[in-house]
């Protein structure tokens, strides 16, 4: 494998941190559950980019293989989370996270 050109590494790291930060902000602050879910995916992808960057940088397949696992798990997680939201929205008539407070029992 060929490692990244000089200057590319910093750019990629910056982009992945930015993706993660945007995702985290959205997950913490947006009221809609669906947006929170999307932001969750954004965070995951930020991490994925990070992994791929360093995999390339070190010419090692470790990060790339971890990336594959994460994509796999993220797909499953998205499927389950969406179906949960379908059931929740039927029950509560809303997808706003604050409306689910009585789930605390």
């Amino acid at each position: 494998m060929i490692s990244l050109p000089v200057g590319e590494l910093e750019f990629h790291v910056f982009v992945s941190i930015a993706l993660f930060a945007i995702g985290a902000y959205g997950f913490l602050c947006k009221r809609s559950g669906l947006i929170a879910l999307m932001c969750l995916e954004l965070m995951l992808n930020g991490v994925n980019l990070f992994l791929m960057t360093f995999s390339k940088h070190h010419s090692s397949p470790d990060g790339a293989s971890l990336f594959l696992f994460i994509v796999l798990v993220a797909a499953a997680e998205a499927a389950i989370a969406l179906s949960i939201f379908v059931i929740l929205s039927r029950r509560f008539g809303s997808v706003v996270l604050d409306d689910y407070r009585r789930l605390k029992g």
Partner: protein
């Protein structure tokens, strides 16, 4: 020699106890009694076989015993305790007494307990007692002896409290147990000394230590010998009911009468004397302790006899008489003659068991009334019981040629030889008191007119009850012939047996008396005892209310010299107070505080943590981000 039959002597009663107590619960007295008696008879049979094996051995005194190695109980460093059973000649006599008299008392109990609610409980305990007592006498190691020592204490407690619905019975049981625990401390200390200074708990090896010059010169401190003997004596004063720990025995009469006969007269209470006889070579290394045994025995013999003369309950008279006779045995030990002590153990087991069983027969015939003031004139209604009681009485006061005559005469002669005229006269006084109170009890029970309707309606017990009496009466008459004074010919079975169980370690007996002195002592003792007995008999026939002691001695005597009250005031109340104080500062303050504190801490932290539990997913996410970045930041700063 190895003889594996010894374990069955032990296992048979143990099996009987389990069978009655666990498997065959709630059976009638006949079935439970039969099982228990069979177990006891099997043990007796094996004992007879073992004893004949032992007497067949003709080896040197060092090997003159049977051994049954069972298993290793503990092994740690130089503390090695094998669970071995061992039969020496002194043990064999004890074995026959325990299983033989034990079997008779089992048979007697079948009838005595026929109207009880839960006789199976009684028979289970009784068998368990036999097993524990057999461990005590057969064990070859002091640590295993201690197991039996505790076991008989437990069974004694269980049987005293057999009628547990009466609170005074359970109190008597607890008193016996606690008093014995106080004595057990002595046993434990002796055990520690044996293991740490003599480096063995094995009785035979302990005895050999006395002759082992390499060991003696290796610098064992003198106080170790004294501590060993002294603490063993302390343990014996509890088990064998001597001053100051005798107080439990009279109260132990709350149990059924067969129990009083077996445990509190014939076997368990003699185990202290038996133990000292077994380790005599070591015990005799501390002359001060031997002298202490003499004076403890003497004062107990006197005190108990003085109390016995004024008791009105027939079982109480016999109980104090037992304490007094045990005092005689201690006096014999103190006079340096374990053989005389052991001889009296054996004869006393026979005649005191007889007296208790006969008294039990009277009590049974009187519908469980024990007061002698309610009896009288029973000699025509209970002929066999009357004759047996009379034989027992004659034996205990030392009527010529009965069992008690030989053993008591031997003790008196040894005391005369060891302590001179003064000791002899003191002990003779106690013996004369025996004659007085025993004939008082006998006359009040069987002579004169019936003093209550119970006495008028009294009836002879059934054969199951009087047959054991007859056997014991026979023994009480003739068992004394095992050891005759020198003037009667040289027949000294008991002395030989006792001496041969010290594994060849010889301990010299002190100077012998001349024949003339022996005759004279015998004559004086017999004539005086019989005179006192005769006057006691005559006086109590005419006046059942007669007081032997002048006032105020009589009043003190009826109140047992206020010993119980003194104990209450000096020991029990202060220790109760101390206990409550410790309870307050340790249990209620410290431990309750710790327990409640941990509960309060958990509750408070729970309440605080519940504040975070809002139900809002995003709050949780905020917490997660905040705390994890805090931790990651901390680690980052730490590794910087």
């Amino acid at each position: 020699m190895i003889f594996e039959g010894l374990r069955w002597i032990l296992l048979a009663p143990l099996l009987g106890a389990v069978l009655n107590g666990v498997i065959l619960q709630n059976k009638s007295a006949k079935i439970s009694g039969l099982v228990a008696t069979l177990a006891s008879l099997v043990a007796f049979g094996f004992s007879v076989v073992a004893c004949s094996q032992l007497s067949g051995l003709n080896s040197a005194p060092e090997q003159n015993f049977l051994i049954d190695p069972l298993f290793t109980w503990m092994s740690s460093g130089h503390v090695y305790v094998p669970f071995n059973l061992e039969l020496t000649s002194i043990t064999s006599v004890m074995l026959l007494v325990i299983t033989g008299i034990g079997s008779l008392i089992h048979i007697y109990s079948i009838s005595y307990l026929s109207e009880e609610e839960s006789p199976w409980r009684f028979f289970s305990y009784l068998n368990l007692f036999l097993a524990a007592m057999l461990v005590l006498v057969l064990a070859s190691n002091l640590a295993v002896v201690f197991l039996g020592w505790e076991g008989v204490g437990l069974c004694s407690y269980l049987l005293i409290g057999y009628w547990y619905k009466k609170p005074e019975n359970t109190a008597a049981g607890m008193k016996a147990f606690i008093t014995n625990r106080v004595g057990d401390i002595g046993f434990l200390i002796a055990l520690f000394v044996a293991f740490s200074f003599f480096q063995t708990g094995d009785i035979s090896r302990l005895a050999e230590r006395v002759n082992d010059y390499a060991f003696l010169s290796s610098g064992v401190p003198t106080w170790a010998w004294y501590t060993f003997a002294g603490s063993l004596l302390w343990a014996a004063t509890a088990k064998s009911a001597q001053i100051p720990l005798y107080i439990w025995l009279p109260d132990a009469m709350a149990g059924p009468t067969p129990v009083s006969a077996l445990i509190h007269a014939a076997t368990m209470v003699t185990s202290g004397i038996f133990l000292i006889c077994r380790v005599w070579p070591l015990f005799a290394m501390s002359p001060v302790i031997v002298d202490a045994a003499f004076w403890i025995g003497m004062s107990t013999a006197w005190l108990a006899a003085l109390i016995a003369v004024s008791q009105t309950d027939v079982k109480k008279v016999l109980a104090y008489s037992t304490v007094s006779q045990l005092g005689f045995m201690f006096v014999a030990l103190g006079a340096g003659s374990p053989a005389a002590a052991f001889f009296h153990v054996i004869t006393h087991a026979c005649f005191k068991a007889l007296l208790f069983l006969a008294a039990g027969s009277v009590i049974h015939g009187m519908h469980h009334k024990q007061e002698m003031s309610l009896m009288g004139g029973l000699k025509d209604k209970m002929k066999i019981t009357h004759v047996c009681f009379l034989i027992g009485t004659l034996a205990i006061i030392g009527f010529p040629l009965t069992a008690g005559f030989f053993s008591k005469d031997m003790i008196l002669a040894k005391v005369f030889a060891a302590q001179g005229v003064f000791g002899y006269i003191l002990l003779l006084g106690a013996a004369l008191l025996t004659a007085a109170y025993m004939f008082r009890a006998y006359t009040l029970c069987f002579w004169g007119g019936a003093r209550s309707e119970y006495a008028q309606k009294a009836h002879e017990s059934d054969p199951l009850m009087y047959m054991p009496l007859v056997v014991l009466a026979f023994l009480s008459l003739f068992i004394g012939w095992l050891e005759l004074p020198e003037v009667f010919g040289h027949f000294t079975k008991i002395t030989d047996w006792v001496h041969s169980s010290w594994y060849g370690v010889g301990v010299g007996e002190q100077a012998h008396l001349s024949h003339l002195a022996e005759w004279l002592l015998m004559l004086i003792t017999s004539v005086l005892s019989l005179t006192v007995a005769y006057y006691s008999f005559k006086i109590y026939q005419r006046n059942p209310e007669f007081k032997i002691l002048p006032e105020p001695l009589h009043k003190w005597s009826t109140n047992k010299f206020y010993v119980d009250e003194a104990f209450e005031l000096l020991l029990i109340k202060p220790s109760m107070k101390a206990g409550r104080f410790i309870n307050r500062i340790s249990d209620e303050t410290t431990f309750n505080g710790l327990a409640n504190g941990s509960f309060r801490f958990t509750r408070l932290s729970g309440r605080l943590l519940a504040l975070f539990h809002t139900g809002s997913v995003q709050t949780y996410a905020w917490h997660f981000v905040f705390w994890s970045s805090l931790i990651v930041g901390a680690i980052f700063l730490w590794t910087l």
